[in-house]
Symmetry: C2
Subunit: 201 residues, 2 copies
């Protein structure tokens, strides 16, 4: 939304369509090339938006990556179904969609690049906070509602659900991919129910 | 062991020290550069073994990667503690060691490269089978011993344990790394116990 852009960010384009085109091109380029190949030249070429216009909006590629991830990535903050099973199924569903779609490469690139490049780690801090903070809040709400025991570790719950889904998709060989895709919803339920039973024990 | 090398692989060096030096250099190079930078020139330079000697032993870099992973990677087949909790703690422990050590990059590279490059997928088939087959056997043994219910999905158990450990290490920010390392063993127990309780429910 252009009206939410701070005044200090003068010169940024007011046309939201331009931003959308840049984000679409940039997330695709990042997934394909990672940090090593993520630059304004490539984004300009893929989006059809001139480099000068990109530089007016973002002072460097790290700032651009941060905005791209915030605009195109997992929106855990929007999830609040009223119970923890529904919330975790929603997280698993979004993650399954991402990992089995074209953005799956982005997911792995972020894990790799934040590990290898301190500037990517810094550039993706907002994005991580935007995933981690609402994930923790989700578990805290469940504890407050009496759905999970006092003292439940949000990190443990999230690691189990997110990690299982991640490992499932990333290690399924191509020849079993069709079957995996058709059984994704059932798998998500198995994961979430196993985790909830385990945590409640 | 040189005596187990099939005769058809004539000309391969008989000196096991040479292989060890190649494997050490190759796994380090692969972790640092991934498939894109994994070549005989780099391995020769890093190991001090001539390119000609490498070509006598491996006809291409995919074959070399396959042997490197089999020699230097997770040996699930060796794990058999007598009960499923011990087995899963051993898996979690090995994985924690790998992910928090210099081979952590190799782990992510394999996930990424098998996704992007069919030749890496093919080259790593033996390695995957060497992890997947004994992992499934581990769960089947537990079912046979009556420790887990009939029909327990080995994939679900492994995804939960491996995935949680993986997500835990890969998403821990640098500033919390020291604390994570000091609490790794407790974390592995929490994961394994939660999964076992959840599966047994």
């Amino acid at each position: 939304m252009s009206e939410t852009v701070p005044a200090a960010r003068r010169g940024r384009p007011r046309d939201p369509d331009v931003e959308e085109r840049v984000f679409d091109a940039a997330i695709e380029l990042y997934g394909r090339s990672g940090w090593a190949g993520f630059n304004f030249e490539g984004v300009a070429r893929a989006s059809g938006i001139g480099k000068a216009a990109l530089y007016r909006r973002w002072s460097n590629r790290a700032e651009l990556l941060n905005d791209v991830l915030k605009a195109r990535w997992i929106r855990v903050a929007d999830i609040d179904t009223g119970d923890i099973r529904g919330d975790l199924l929603a997280v698993a569903g979004i993650l399954l969609d991402i990992l089995t779609g074209i953005q799956g490469d982005v997911y792995l690139r972020i894990l790799m690049d934040t590990r290898l490049h301190p500037e990517v780690h810094d550039a993706t801090a907002d994005y991580r906070a935007g995933v981690v903070t609402p994930s923790r809040a989700m578990v805290h709400r469940a504890v407050a509602r009496g759905e999970l025991p006092e003292g439940t570790s949000p990190g443990l719950v999230i690691d189990l659900v997110v990690g299982a889904v991640q490992n499932h998709v990333l290690t399924t060989p191509p020849e079993l991919r069709t079957r995996m895709l058709s059984q994704m919803h059932t798998y998500a339920e198995q994961v979430v129910d196993t985790v909830l039973h385990g945590i409640r024990h």
